[in-house]
């Protein structure tokens, strides 16, 4: 397995090279564009960099969970509404707990509820995919619908559940030493996930299952149990992201994660992961997230008409996958 993982890392370095190149090209183009159009810098503006990092932060947390799933050869389509369900659950728990305790313990209880609800939804995905053997594309789509309905039910039919908690507000909209708080929030998840995928035995199992499932079974990995854990992890990430959403918008909302689902998958793929499993890294996903956030944010700054922004992001995703395929052929 050591030699296999070594040759894999050569692929991974190459994949990351291309995604970094993409990001650099995007930043240089935007810099030139803003210089010409407004006579201002894009890249060397602390406001712009922070806004991009904040924009990337919550989708990145979902994308990190998705990275584990995709590397293992699966896909999790439920994360958008699992995020929504977890955010509504956290908001309701926070509103129930707040009259009875201080801000911090109430927030801890609500945070635990968000992660727990997300992880439970993920565990259901894991059961459907690993134990019942339903293809992940279909199984997680079913959970997508279930989570969506439950989120709206739990929100009482309304579109949002407003929350008030000073610590939560600071987490979403405050700054620490001039750096906006959501950036720290995502960074912590990033570091833990990086360590888990790269250095823990669990991470090695994820690659092994994605690269060759039957081989993984033969060497004695309990594949079903590992797959269940992988989907649980993805759900828990959606729960963590839900807490980030609650913090940023001072409300839980069923539809909060819907726009992030496809973006988060694109982030993983731009980061060099293969949808067939076996390759992909957390750093790659980070770069994918930064690329999408930079383009989405930058095109507004240079005032490109909104519909051209979709087209641009779409083209970037296709280009990234084409490069990914070419890389497979020529290396």
């Amino acid at each position: 397995m050591t030699s296999a993982s070594r040759s894999k890392s050569a692929f991974q370095i190459m994949g990351q090279f291309w995604s970094v190149a993409f990001l650099v090209v995007a930043l240089i183009s935007l810099e030139i564009w803003t210089q010409i159009q407004y006579g201002r810098t894009f890249v060397f503006s602390a406001y712009n960099i922070q806004a991009i990092l904040v924009l990337a932060s919550i989708p990145l947390i979902i994308a990190i969970g998705q990275t584990f799933v995709i590397v293992s050869g699966g896909i999790d389509l439920s994360t958008g509404y699992v995020l929504g369900l977890s955010s509504v659950a956290a908001a309701q728990v926070l509103n129930l707990a707040s009259p009875h305790m201080d801000a911090l313990p109430a927030l801890l209880v609500a945070g635990a509820a968000a992660v727990l609800v997300g992880a439970m939804a993920g565990r259901v995905n894991g059961f459907i995919v690993a134990t019942l053997g339903v293809p992940p594309f279909i199984g997680t789509l079913g959970v997508f619908g279930i989570a969506r309905g439950m989120a709206y039910l739990l929100a009482g039919g309304g579109s949002t559940v407003a929350v008030r908690n000073p610590i939560l507000e600071a987490m979403g909209n405050g700054s620490i030493f001039g750096v906006r708080a959501p950036i720290f929030f995502a960074a912590i998840v990033l570091i833990v996930a990086y360590y888990a995928l790269r250095h823990l035995r669990f991470g090695q199992y994820v690659y092994a299952i994605g690269a060759n499932r039957s081989a993984a079974e033969r060497v004695g990995i309990n594949v079903k149990r590992q797959i269940a854990s992988i989907y649980t992890l993805s759900g828990a990430c959606a729960g963590i992201a839900a807490l980030g959403c609650c913090a940023r918008y001072s409300a839980g909302a069923p539809q909060a994660g819907e726009p992030m689902l496809l973006d988060s998958i694109a982030m993983v793929v731009i980061g060099g992961a293969s949808l067939f499993g076996g390759s992909g890294t957390i750093i790659g996903t980070l770069i994918g997230a930064l690329t999408i956030a930079t383009v989405q944010y930058g095109l507004v700054v240079v005032n490109v008409e909104p519909f051209w922004q979709f087209i641009t992001v779409g083209l970037i995703i296709i280009a990234a996958v084409l490069i990914d395929q070419a890389k497979g052929k020529f290396l």
Binding site: A51, S159, G172, C245, A256, V300, N303, P306
Partner: protein
């Protein structure tokens, strides 16, 4: 109905005349031109594209550049990142239709703190009462919007008159908790109850903005209420669905359909006889007055904290009259 229509028409006519004078006269050079950004609730809706067209008229009149940026769906999660990028463009005035009364408060305060004047159009934050200093959300200068309770009352009047002041009607509604639609429904109910003693407003039907669901709901209500006289479709899809239900039940012309909002689809349905009335809001007016207010405040003038724009009732009889046709959304 005629009176209110005429009054609203006059307000907008006066506004246009004022700007015509301003741009034509020599003092136009003394007017400092702000950089104005306009952010809709969503970019893919004819209400907001019409609002943009009205704003562009004012922007052209004042000779200023109008930044137009927004997200494809009505969701704070997609609107807030666009807002942050718009803040980076450092406009002097931000005109925005916030996608949530609570969730946009903190992000908009960031724009305010960056020295940008915030004015809300169409939707609002908090309760829409600004400049009191008493609430977290009172920092925007002005709320420019149509009064949805008044719009609902106008729908009640128009539909009530159209059914001859008697019979049963109901409201086809999107989803409880959507403030603008709840207000339309409340205004509609209040007007009918106060003015048409022989009419009855049945229970509201919620359709999740799904036209086919609204259609089958009409058929179900009609099945148990054969003497149904009319439906108020409180938004576009509710009205389109109810109208299709009326046609399926073979009741076109007998059961009156009143739609709220006037995009081309509804106008087509009026011409085809599926819809009888449409309450057109005046999004172009909102855009026009929003830009005018931006210029005024940038030049040190005071502006009202609330500007209410009007409504027009469109029917098959007045659609081709240019005085009315200009209220069809573009």
């Amino acid at each position: 109905m005629t009176l209110s229509r005429r009054r609203f028409f006059q307000t907008s006519a006066m506004g246009i005349a004022a700007v015509g004078a301003a741009s034509g006269a020599s003092f136009a050079q003394d007017v400092r031109k702000p950089r104005v950004a306009l952010m809709p609730g969503l970019t893919t809706d004819s209400y907001y594209t019409t609002l943009r067209a009205g704003a562009q008229v004012a922007a052209d009149a004042f000779g200023l550049e109008l930044i137009w940026q927004g997200a494809p769906d009505f969701n704070p999660v997609t609107q807030v990142p666009v807002l942050e990028a718009v803040i980076a463009q450092q406009p002097d005035v931000l005109l925005i239709a916030p996608t949530d009364t609570q969730q946009l408060v903190a992000p908009l305060r960031r724009a305010h703190d960056a020295g940008i004047t915030v004015i809300t159009v169409d939707t609002y934050i908090g309760d829409g009462v600004y400049q009191t200093g008493a609430t977290d959300w009172s920092f925007p200068l002005s709320a420019i919007a149509s009064n949805n309770i008044e719009g609902g009352r106008l729908a009640g009047k128009a539909l009530g008159e159209s059914v001859g002041g008697k019979g049963k009607v109901y409201v086809a509604h999107f989803r409880p908790g959507v403030s603008t639609m709840d207000e339309r429904e409340a205004g509609f109910r209040a007007y009918v109850q106060e003015n048409f003693p022989e009419m009855e407003v049945l229970g509201t039907q919620y359709n999740d903005n799904d036209a086919s669901k609204a259609a089958s709901q009409f058929e179900a209500v009609f099945a148990r209420t054969p003497d149904l006289a009319g439906v108020f479709g409180a938004n576009v899809f509710s009205a389109i669905g109810a109208a299709n239900g009326v046609r399926a039940a073979g009741q076109s012309g007998k059961v009156k359909v009143c739609a709220f909002d006037a995009p081309e689809t509804i106008i087509g349905d009026i011409r085809g006889g599926l819809v009888d009335l449409a309450i057109a809001q005046h999004p172009a007016e909102e855009g026009f007055f929003a830009v005018s207010a931006a210029v005024a405040t940038f030049n040190g003038q005071s502006i009202p904290t609330k500007i209410s724009t009007g409504f027009t009732v469109l029917t098959a009889d007045n659609l081709d009259d240019p005085t009315f046709a200009k209220f069809i959304y573009k």
